[in-house]
């Protein structure tokens, strides 16, 4: 049908065409207007709708694609499920800690929790369920928060493996592995066959070992039996039954320790009730882990029973027949006991004897004390008597002295003189008696050893007895000595005096008595010589006894006690008293004493020598000095002091003088001599030639230490120039005096110089 009604006349049709065109034109124009008409709203709406529809189509397409993908995923998942179901292992995948998928084997592992194993269950939740399950028997490790153990950090590859035992002897290995940061895979592997096979192999092994063990048991020499922790017999050997004498019927497998002990008690095989108490066994084993007992069994057999706990809580009992050993031990013990008894008896005897000896000793001591007391009282009496006697004698002597004055020129004078002498003798006798009594007393302080100047003592005695000798018409001489000895000054003085008096008494008028001392090794020997009547050899031992007297002695002048006092004093002091005599020719009495080593006395050597500068200076001095003026001055000075001086200008000259036969007491040498020679060399040569260690002093201006040492090594004293005369004289005295003492000069210690006084002048 046409747009315009064809039945209309052409003008109408034309008009309508125009109208149509106009309307279309208007419409077309309005398309560009922004009008808000209903139709434009409709138009814009359907525009929008078209766009929406297009978008919807896109969405639908996307949705359908999604649907397809979902289908694929479903299919994949289904395939996965099927695959998982076909697996022989339990499998579970936990995504982000929640169960995502698992197979039936995993789910039904523990039937009582199967219905709770579902999607969304947490890993920890699964393990909690697992632990709760009554089908779970054991795990090889504690399952606690495995998610945390796998590490929250999400590192892949961490693996955990747990061994699980399920009721019915089913074993699974549960492996956990983190496959990615989100995923954890649990794999359950059935290892039941492996576990069972292992076990059966182990069992076979154990059985074989048990057989082996049984065989070993049977062939052991001691009786062995093991018990279960409950006390049931596990394993025993023939020797065990044999030792206990228990029949096999009583002692099969399954019988108990209690029964065994009961049997032995009933048969009275062992009479030790404590031993047979099961409770005691248990307590002991529990406390110490072992038990050891020796019991006597039935017919005199002795058994060692030792029980030790075993690792499973049971214990092993070992029996040993120690009857022979036990008998041997008994025998030995008996023997030891016998010997012990014997020794005890011997000891008692010895003790008795010892006590007896002690008693005797005590008696002896008492007797000695009594004797000593008796002696002591006698001595005291003697001392007291002598002392008391001296008083009237002193008085008598004073009267006699007065009487002598009055009797001058009368005929009574000789009688008074005799009287005076008689009283003097009495006094001396009393003194001797007093000495003897003191020396005989037990008093350890009877003598007091000290350092005594022997020369001084001799001079003192000489001076005292010179009048007596002159009165008798005997010549008394003294040879001076310079020596210090160790002795008691009082008794030594008395002894010398007695010897001198004795010598004078037994020497006829016109005879001689000589007092002197000489060195003999480390000792000084004092000698008293006389030209008296002499003593026969037979009498020589007797003369020291009290009141022994040579037959020719005149009555009234004898001093019977004199030698006796000397003998006692020397014995007390350790001096050797000697006598040499030839009848008609004379006698020599000697006392040998220890010389005191002056060097040991570090105190004051000057005190030991006649140190006074004014003292005698009769030395023979050899002086070596190359300067004639100095030599002259020195020599004059020394001569002034009293020395004999020989001067020499050199060492050779000095040697020549020596060859003249003269030997000096001391050499004084200048150090620097002509021709490069030294004083030290000269001294050495002199000593060499005369074969003696001449004392020497080196005079030098050289104060070096080296020279001092060299001089010291040669035992040569040194005095520095200019020489102080006040020092020189004591030094010479000291050097000469020292040379008279036998010395052992050591190389490293220089001789000490005497104390040097203040100088008086220099040369």
């Amino acid at each position: 049908m046409s747009l315009i009604d064809a039945s209309q006349p052409p003008e109408v049709r034309l008009e309508r065409q125009e109208r149509i065109i106009a309307a279309l034109m208007r419409r077309a124009d309005r398309q560009n207007e922004l009008s808000l008409s209903a139709y434009s709203a409709f138009q814009s709406a359907i525009e929008l709708q078209a766009q929406v529809a297009a978008k919807t189509r896109d969405l639908e397409r996307a949705a359908s694609e999604l649907e397809t993908m979902r289908g694929d995923r479903e299919r994949t998942r289904r395939n996965l499920h099927e695959a998982l179901s076909a697996m022989h292992e339990g499998f579970a995948l936990f995504t982000e800690g929640r169960l995502d998928v698992c197979n039936d084997l995993f789910r039904n592992l523990l039937p009582d929790i199967a219905d709770r194993v579902g999607t969304g269950l947490s890993l920890d939740g699964y393990f909690e369920l697992m632990v709760q399950s009554r089908h779970l028997v054991s795990t090889d490790r504690k399952i606690h928060r495995p998610a945390a153990q796998l590490g929250g950090s999400g590192e892949a590859g961490i693996v955990m493996s747990i061994l699980i035992e399920i009721s019915g002897d089913i074993w699974y290995q549960l492996g956990l592995q983190r496959t990615s940061s989100d995923n954890v895979v649990l794999l359950l592997t059935d290892i039941t066959p492996i576990v069972r096979q292992n076990r059966s192999e182990r069992k076979t092994l154990i059985d074989r070992q048990a057989d082996y063990l049984q065989a070993v048991f049977e062939h052991m020499s001691s009786g062995v039996c093991t018990f279960s922790p409950e006390g049931a017999v596990m394993m025993q050997n023939r020797q065990f039954r044999h030792l206990l004498d228990v029949p096999m019927t009583e002692f099969g497998r399954g019988s108990t320790l209690e029964r065994l002990l009961g049997f032995m008690q009933a048969k009275a095989l062992i009479r030790d009730d404590a031993f047979l108490e099961v409770a005691n066994w248990r307590e002991q084993l529990k406390k110490t882990g072992w038990l050891r007992r020796r019991v006597r069994h039935g017919k005199g057999r002795v058994l060692d029973v030792q029980a030790n706990t075993l690792p499973d809580g049971g214990f092993l009992v070992e029996l040993k027949d120690v009857t022979l050993e036990s008998r041997a031990t008994e025998m030995l013990e008996n023997r030891v006991m016998e010997r012990t008894a014997e020794l005890t008896r011997a000891n008692a005897r010895l003790t008795e004897q010892f006590e007896e000896m002690a008693r005797v000793e005590e008696e002896l001591r008492l007797a000695k004390e009594r004797a000593e007391a008796a002696v002591s009282s006698k001595t005291r009496f003697l001392a007291a008597a002598s002392h008391d006697l001296l008083q009237p004698i002193n008085a008598a002597k004073l009267l006699i002295s007065t009487l002598q004055e009055a009797a001058q020129g009368s005929h009574l004078l000789p009688m008074v003189d005799r009287l005076h002498r008689a009283f003097s003798s009495t006094e001396q006798l009393l003194h001797a008696l007093l000495d003897i009594s003191r020396l005989d007393s037990a008093d350890p302080d009877a003598v007091t050893p000290a350092e005594v100047n022997l020369g001084a003592l001799m001079e003192s005695v000489f001076a005292d007895q010179l009048p007596l000798a002159e009165a008798k018409g005997v010549r008394l001489d003294l040879v001076p000595a310079h020596v210090v000895v160790r002795s008691d000054p009082v008794y030594l003085h008395r002894s010398i005096q007695n010897l001198v008096v004795n010598a004078i008494q037994y020497t006829e008028t016109g005879g001689r008595v000589l007092l002197g001392a000489r060195r003999q090794g480390g000792r000084a020997v004092l000698e008293v010589w006389d030209t008296g009547i002499g003593i026969r050899r037979a009498d020589q031992a007797r003369i020291f006894e009290e009141f022994a007297r040579a037959g020719a002695a005149r009555v009234g002048t004898g001093m019977g006690l004199g030698l006796s006092v000397v003998d006692r004093a020397c014995r007390h002091l350790g001096h050797a008293l000697g006598v040499r005599s030839a009848p008609g020719r004379g006698s020599v009495f000697s006392i040998a004493m220890d010389v005191v080593d002056w060097r040991a006395r570090r105190g004051d050597p000057a005190a030991l020598i006649p140190a006074t500068s004014e003292g005698p200076f009769a030395h023979h001095v050899l002086m070596i000095e190359n300067d004639p003026d100095v030599l002259f001055a020195f020599a004059e000075r020394l001569r002034l002091w009293g020395a004999r001086v020989i001067g020499a200008g050199s060492g050779a000259e000095a040697l020549a003088r020596l060859e003249d036969g003269m030997r000096p007491d001391i050499v004084l040498a200048d150090y620097h001599l002509d021709g490069g020679a030294t004083g030290l060399g000269a001294v050495a040569a002199l000593r060499d030639v005369c074969g003696a260690h001449l004392p020497a002093i080196l005079v030098t201006a050289d104060r070096s230490e080296a020279l001092r040492r060299e001089a010291a090594r040669a035992d040569i004293a040194v005095i520095p120039k200019p020489v102080k005369l006040a020092h020189l004289r004591p030094l010479i005295n000291w050097a000469v005096w020292r040379a008279g003492i036998p010395t052992k000069v050591s190389n490293d210690s220089a001789p000490r110089s005497p104390r040097l006084g203040p100088g008086k002048g220099d040369i």
Binding site: L3, R16, R19, A23, L24, A38, A41, I46, A50
Partner: protein, 386 residues
């Protein structure tokens, strides 16, 4: 499918009454629902009842439960098409929440006023997490403002699907009302914002095919949807000539059978004719304009089309629990003309379609005629979405 249809819907309660007197009808429908469990109700009033009396009766009987609705040109009850049934749909509070705004003046049309009111409603209506939101529009069917209205709503509510039906007046095309808050309103529209725990799906279809016949509107009053001239000739006689009938024979049934379509970008939209005036003008039920080229359409396979359009299922393949349907009155007239109305009713019953016959349908921002617009509600998800 039939068996499935025997089951009443689970998530909406429906009551109908064919009582001739308004009070009795109201009493019957109110007694048929559980008011305590009801969030709100939709009511569709037949031409035979006094709408004012129905409104008053509902206000008195519904016990404070809000009732919305409109007058209708026929009802779709659980039994299918009905002409004299009062239909009440009670939406349970277990699955529905609702808020409403009444637009009480459509002429003159104020876009800003309406847009503001709807925006406020949308903003104030609290969103429940996990629930789905949609809007329902009931407009005065004689206001001729549905095009702008739906366009405005579509703009204001870009994320909310809007489904609408224009109130009817039987076949009188005289005056229509919307019911809001116990009041019947003319020249008004009602917007319901609904949130539901149920999932839903919009549906919109027609069954027309374009013919060879084209025509041009050469004279029209777009405001009143009146077309005076077609192809330069008086509209009514020219339409009669084109469809091949006498001017005198023009009736709603002719109009229903021979709708005029607008072609736009490959799609055809129905412009239904409501009436032919004495001045030989044609009164349209949707927007028209001067100079628009139109195509004569012809219905094809209405039943098949209906079945296909309503064959819906949710993500899990389950059919809808019920479908709220806005069915153009001209479709019903066509079905009755073709004597397939009972078949249509069978399909509606089977698909549990409930609703009314409209003077126009709104969906996707467009006001249309001779279409079926529906919202299919599905039962709650049995399993979460994958």
């Amino acid at each position: 499918m039939r068996d499935e249809g025997l089951r009443p819907p689970l998530h909406v309660h429906v009551a109908t009454s064919e009582a001739a007197e308004a009070g009795a009808a109201v009493a019957e429908v109110v007694a048929g629902v559980d008011l305590a469990a009801t969030c709100f109700a939709l009511v569709f009033i037949p031409k035979c009842l006094d709408a004012g009396a129905v409104a008053r009766g509902l206000s008195a009987k519904m016990g404070g439960v809000p009732v919305f609705g409109c007058t209708s040109a026929g009802q779709i009850t659980p039994e299918g098409y009905a002409s004299e049934a009062l239909l009440l749909m009670a939406f349970p509070r277990a699955h529905f929440r609702c808020a409403s705004v009444l637009i009480d003046r459509l002429r003159p049309f104020s876009i800003s006023g309406i847009a503001g009111a709807v925006e406020r409603l949308d903003a104030q209506f609290r969103h429940t997490p996990g629930w789905n939101r949609l809007a329902l529009l009931f407009a005065d069917g004689m206001s001729k403002q549905e095009d702008l209205l739906i366009s405005t709503l579509e703009t204001v509510l870009p994320d909310t699907p809007v489904f609408g039906g224009s109130a009817g007046d039987g076949l009188e095309f005289n005056e229509t009302f919307v019911l809001h808050d116990g009041r019947l309103m003319k020249d008004a529209a009602l917007v319901l914002m609904v949130e539901t725990a149920l999932s839903f799906q919009g549906v919109n279809f027609d069954h027309f095919q374009p013919t060879e016949e084209q025509l041009v509107i050469t004279g029209a009053d777009p405001e009143d949807r009146l077309v005076f001239e077609i192809n330069g000739a008086p509209a009514a006689p020219e339409y009669a000539r084109i469809v091949g009938c006498a001017r005198a024979d023009l009736s709603p049934r002719i109009f229903a059978e021979n709708p005029i379509l607008v072609h736009h970008r490959g799609r055809y939209y129905v412009r239904a004719i409501a009436d032919a005036t004495e001045t030989d003008a044609l009164s349209f039920m949707a927007a028209i304009d001067d100079g628009v080229i139109m195509t004569l359409g012809r219905g094809r396979g209405m039943i098949e089309n209906l079945r296909a359009g309503l064959d819906l299922s949710d993500a899990e393949g389950a059919p809808p629990d019920f479908i709220l349907g806005f069915d153009c009155v001209l479709r019903r007239l066509e079905a009755e003309q073709k004597q397939i109305a009972h078949e249509v009713s069978d399909v509606f019953r089977a698909r549990r379609v409930l609703g009314f016959n409209t003077y126009g349908e709104q969906h996707g921002g467009v006001h249309m005629n001779q279409t079926f617009v529906g919202v299919a509600f599905f039962g709650p998800a049995r399993g979460g979405p994958i």
